[in-house]
Symmetry: C2
Subunit: 278 residues, 2 copies
């Protein structure tokens, strides 16, 4: 996302715990900050992209955090966090005279670098208005889910649940055909060209057939977190989600087997092992 913002002529300051990860960006004109707070310009826009609730909390709260420095500005929060925490985070911004816009993104790093993300947004009208040029640079589609700051995160969590379910569904189907002596690749060729001719089924289906789970496009450990967030959001709103419950156990099984750093499509290995697919 930072690379895309540079490409589209934005002046940016970047921060990462591992400073070297910013080297390329700095070489291309970004300023480097030594702390999250230093990356914030009072009254400006700060975009964060982090692994989970506690990472967002760590950079946002406290004297050295984003919120204390942002006064009058907007925090564009792209992390997949729990809706409950998003609501709390928005409230803290409001109290400190800053704005918060939930803006989780769908798409991998190459989609971000070429401005092809899909972005769900929600939050105050003024905040959304201010960040629109930034979002326009990053995404091919921006869908506004209203003024509840946590709404965009509910959407993100529901979307990631759908992807996890697609991976598990394909895995079970591949195990079924494989145990009946059918080539997985032929089955893949059929469904990925016809009924399921879309990116999730084509991309993850290919990884599963090839047993190619490294390097992770999206780490399995983060997928497990997101399934947990779906169940948590379902629990809060009293929504039974039987497939999400199945996914929870599947991800725990994959984590137990030490696959947290593999791509999340590696849950397929658990389905294959359960069925003793050769």
């Amino acid at each position: 996302m930072a690379s895309r913002l540079l490409d589209t002529g934005h002046e940016i300051t970047v921060y990462n715990r591992t400073a070297e990860r910013a080297d390329d960006l700095v070489a291309r004109g970004a300023r480097f900050a030594n702390s999250p707070r230093e990356a914030v310009e009072p009254g400006g826009i700060v975009l964060s992209s982090l692994a989970n609730d506690s990472a967002v909390e760590a950079v946002s709260f406290g004297d050295a955090g984003i919120i204390a420095a942002l006064k009058g500005g907007v925090h564009l929060s792209t992390s997949t966090i729990s809706p409950t925490f998003a609501a709390r985070l928005a409230e803290r911004h409001r109290s400190a005279g800053a704005d918060y816009v939930g803006s989780p993104v769908f798409g991998r790093p190459p989609a971000a670098a070429s401005g092809k993300l899909w972005i769900a947004i929600s939050g105050s009208a003024a905040g959304k208005e201010r960040v629109r040029p930034i979002l326009a640079a990053l995404g091919q589609g921006i869908v506004d889910f209203g003024d509840k700051p946590e709404a965009a995160n509910v959407v993100k969590v529901a979307g990631n649940f759908m992807i996890a379910s697609a991976i598990e569904t394909m895995s079970e189907a591949f195990a079924l055909v494989a145990k009946h002596g059918i080539e997985e690749r032929q089955f893949y060729d059929l469904f990925s060209q016809s009924l399921f001719a879309c990116r999730i089924f084509q991309g993850y289906g290919q990884s599963i057939v090839d047993r190619e789970f490294e390097p992770a496009g999206f780490r399995l450990e983060l997928g497990a977190k997101d399934v947990g967030l779906a169940l948590q959001a379902g629990g809060e709103a009293k929504v039974p989600m039987p497939i999400a419950s199945v996914l929870r156990d599947r991800f725990l099984n994959a984590l137990a087997k030490g696959r947290g750093d593999s791509d999340w499509s590696a849950i397929a290995l658990s389905a294959f092992e359960d069925a003793a697919v050769p």
Copy 2:
């Protein structure tokens, strides 16, 4: 399919238990047979499309059945039947000097009428070779799964399992966002244009958002049967399918509520009722 065969210049004889259903075809030049056996030309090709194992058994076996009349011909079996029964059916054809080709199709009646089906085939090389012109008229894609007659049915059952899972997954996701106060249609607009921009998610997602389950494109009762076939095929090959198990209960719930004649996407209503989505 019969309509398409007429359109592409084939001479056909048609049979249906409800004779009036053939009226249009007869008006366009098809001959009408008064029994399944009468529709069969010895040494010719007979195509059957029926609801389940027992319906296929009823028209195939016995003195008045297809097999007894077909000698030297090929039975092109497009029904979604259990792989076990498909293997038994193929064996009976072989004993009677006839050929059997499993050729279940993916696609609804309009796709059949315009030659846009996707067709999985398996069976003897000679049988497949003979029916190829027929299949070419009906399908935009034909994938050959080898010589085991039941293989194509395993593929069909796996494919229908994937569709049922997609419907249930969307239903749970819709219930989740709805209970968090988000418009289902907006969520639909996001996923159906981006990650899940393919027919199954677009078509069934639309039906669910619109709560439009009549008339059935594919009857829920048949969907329940197909989930049962997936579990049966999984049972035979020792493949645990936790999502298929969830789907079994969901379809039973929908049948219990008297929705067997609705479209199978009406399982969404069960997910909504479980979560008390208004």
